[in-house]
Amino acid sequence: MAVASDMPMGWGLPWQNLQDRLDDESRARDQLAAIAPAALMRHKAKEVANQELLESVKKLMAEDGMEGGFSFLHLHEAVMGSQPDWKPQLIGSCVASGDKETTAARMLAEVHLFQQPETLPGSNISGTNNLSFFAPFNYRAGRKLAGINGNGDGSLCMTHIRGKMQFGHLPCDTAGLASDAFPEPQNQSTYRAWGATDKFLNEFAAVAGKCKLLESEKVRTPDEQWTLTNEHFKPANICSMWAFKRGPKHPTWKTRDGQPVYIWVRDSRQEWAHNMSRMGYVEVSGKRYGIIKNTCGDFHDGRSWFVIDQDTDEAWLRQAECQTVGNIDLSDSPAAWPS
């Protein structure tokens, strides 16, 4: 049976050690801070304008045993009808594949929780009318800024974020955009061709440049992530070498299907050079847990997500590169009546 470790990983380059990768991330952040410091600062939290939707999210969370906090998985469910079920990554595109999920989650918050007068890029999780932007465009933008070219896999979290700020995002229904699947090709050669050179990046730069990421903040502690999740509604990408394994069963926590929830812990016998998505911070029986979504597939007790406690998270964040996905300048909401 396949396990997450069998999937291609893609944080940094294969010959780099942890410190090399963290140094690259740190350098990329300093370079961005030098030219656009406001893009990395904490901004004022936006108010939730749709309390009814927030209540629906909390109700769905409660069905899964979550007593407090906020989960983007359940925001997705409240709007889209089910929890996110994107196709797993096929190549070492985890930085782009995971970011695609956090970006979609943030857009749902902007349009439906905050009620910003903006529009989602699409309404489905497959096909060209897609909630997500086309991930390979951002994959190339991040790799370009990291100086990674050619058909090998891999990228950096921080240059990926900067690429979203500099080059924007490409809607899947863009005229002339061809792929066997959306928002990510299921043909590995197609995906790698996007990441290899600037060819497609240049071709679609004008369209993508209209929707840019405006802000991102480094997450250093679980408390910061709690605040950023529950007050600012910002999911985050986390790149690290940490592998995880199932830990102890929570004494009372069960999801709505009656399955117990296990608290996952570090597996120090393995390393995953991998990006994952921080999709919520919730409270159960008075303790806080981070919800981590893995684009590798349903390898975590039959789910694509798992939970970690704050102590694990505290240690993990010290050895990881973690950046939020903040406000995105989406297209303005269209006129309500046909002309």
Partner: protein, 236 residues
């Protein structure tokens, strides 16, 4: 007639001080209609033929050390122009719910933005016989009646020629649209708009008025639901 503002400071709401933009929203009163105003100590002398009216206004102060700034404002979803009083202050008048987007940019520092919302109470009221220097604060202003510039009334006026059958069709299409938006079957406004377009609703004048009105507004998803509800209200 000269327009003259005499500004009573009622309250000062320090809104935000984040990163590179500090915005302050100040509720004030504006007296207009004063002819030849002349400030004498704490009195204003005006020509006897002056016909005064007092209205609520809001001054938004934007302080930043960035080089460029852009202030975009919407009242009840429609874009409005802010009256710039000086380098840092913008005046907003007219009843409604305001959304003000402030974006600052600096080649060396990047970009930053913030958003402010506030209400300005309903229509101007005539002043009392002797407005004192320290009048009591107004109660919280209620949202203005006749949403979207009396959209329902305008719809009612233009829908008089519809037959019962046509009106039923309009009602049905709008009710379905609202229901599909509330249930998130439609997740985007353009899905609602396409649904309405496909229904090919009769009455060119009414359609044109609604298209023009919608074109002039920037509405969120839920404000669009409210807009459709007003159309429905007008039809009824």
């Amino acid at each position: 007639m000269k327009r003259f503002f005499f500004l009573f400071l009622f309250s000062c709401l320090a809104n935000a001080c984040f990163a590179q933009i500090k915005t302050t929203t100040i509720e004030k009163k504006s007296i207009s209609g004063a002819i030849e105003p002349n400030l004498q100590g704490n009195r204003i002398l005006i020509a006897s033929e002056s016909q005064l009216s007092i209205s609520s206004v809001v001054v938004v102060k934007v302080e930043t050390d960035f080089k460029f700034r852009r202030v975009k404002a919407y009242r009840d979803g429609s874009k409005v122009e802010a009256e710039q009083l000086n380098e840092t202050e913008y005046l907003f008048s007219g009843a409604g719910k305001y959304l003000v987007d402030v974006t600052v940019f600096d080649p060396d520092k990047g970009i930053d933005d913030t958003q402010i919302t506030f209400f300005i109470g309903s229509s101007p009221t005539p002043p009392g016989p002797e407005p004192g220097p320290q009048p009591k604060p107004e109660p919280e202003p209620a949202p203005p009646e006749g949403l979207f510039d009396n959209l329902a009334i305008r719809v009612a006026a233009l829908s008089v020629g519809l037959t019962a059958e046509q009106k039923t069709k309009w009602n049905s299409v709008l009710s379905q649209t609202i229901s599909k938006m509330k249930s998130f079957e439609f997740k985007r406004v353009d899905e609602a708009r396409n649904f309405i377009r496909a229904a090919n609703l009769p009455n060119a004048n009414l359609n044109q008025m609604l298209a023009n009105d919608a074109q002039a507004r920037m509405l969120s998803f839920n404000e669009t639901i409210l807009w459709y509800q007003e159309v429905l209200r007008g039809l009824k």
